[in-house]
Subunit: 191 residues, 2 copies
DNA sequence: CGGTCTCTTGACGGAGTTCAAAGCTAGTGG
DNA sequence: CCACTAGCTTTGAACTCCGTCAAGAGACCG
């Protein structure tokens, strides 16, 4: 079950076997059905999740009562609400399964323990954060630079198979516009 | 000169003195005047910068020839183009001083060397990345949730003194709209 | 004092939203 | 196996926020 995470780690760093094993032993398995919640707004985010299969999303409800999708995560991605998890503050976000999913999770105290001792696992999580930061920065750049239609086609080109996996209204929300508008973009392209 | 960086590090971690010193010894000082470039689009981003005083910004020029500000950095912040720096790819961004500034810089190879050996400095840079990730996530949430006017007033409330430090057109660009529109927001508030 | 850089103002246009209604689709139970 | 429902997507008309363009007014710096 932790074999998949082990392989992921070994793509980035090569920790001593003992360190790696004691880390993997701290991970707990969890099976979540589509639409189940791993975190609800107003609670503390206790875990960081490694997605084995399926898809998670984080979102909040804005003043008008509309869901806003902040992030998606799929296989081999780490997923959490960084803010609530690292600062131990109340979460402004929900985390929910967007498909039936299998995840590994680890609590903050256990992760902290590991990161106080393992050089290589620090390097691993630092690398993960670097990648995520690069993704966030690209996303910000795209949001500034592209029209709604361009955002959609760009996203479609980058992740052609992912687009099939989630409802259109979630994708629209993630890209920053309404489902109605996305529908119009899609139908314009057909002609 | 490196005292300020040392203090910053000690707020997060407590590395052995030898590690800390050898790290600080690798930092190089640079004095930049307002509007000087530390990185130009199409080049490699060779350095990560720690800002001692002043203000840096990163930006790109979009298809229409308009400057888009991606980030600002001020005293006690690390600043770089993560994408170009970590992946050693050509930079899509410029980094420019937005005020007369003093910075410390370190090259990728030197930083990598440090991070292969120092547990505590790995923890430091991981913490920095966590903070930065939290900021990016908040920014994405704001951009989705708030109108232009709300973005401005929110930013104004968070960083009231910073708003005075940069030209309005840079701030408008950073917030994702035009200087004309910002001007209209500001004048509406006066009445 | 002259020039460049920055900010303001107004008229117009367009990308995307809102609201409401209807059309699909898949799952559920009888 | 069909009927029903709930959730998702489509469509269209009116509307709004913000961009574009152009011209002018300040402000700063050599």
């Amino acid at each position: 079950m932790t074999e998949q995470l082990k392989n992921h780690i070994l793509k980035f760093v090569t920790p001593p076997d003992s360190e790696l094993q004691s880390f993997l032993n701290l991970m707990e398995f969890e099976d979540v059905k589509n639409k189940e919640y791993l975190l609800k707004e107003g609670r503390y985010c206790k875990y960081q999740y490694f997605i084995l299969e399926g898809c998670l999303r984080s979102f909040f409800i804005n003043k008008k009562g509309v869901e806003k999708v902040v992030n998606f995560g799929i296989e081999d991605w780490w997923f959490t609400n960084v803010d609530s998890f690292t600062n131990q503050t109340l979460s402004a976000l929900n985390i929910q399964a967007a498909e039936d999913s299998k995840v590994l999770k680890i609590s903050k105290s256990k992760l902290d323990y590991i990161l106080q001792n393992s050089l290589e696992l620090n390097r691993y999580f630092r690398s993960i954060l670097e990648k995520v930061r690069i993704a966030d920065q690209r996303r910000i750049q795209f949001m500034f630079n592209l029209s709604g239609e361009e955002l959609y086609t760009t996203f479609n080109d980058y992740y052609p198979d992912f687009v099939q996996r989630v409802p259109q209204y979630m994708l629209a929300s993630y890209l920053g516009f309404t489902p109605e508008f996305l529908s119009k973009i899609r139908n314009k392209k057909k002609q």
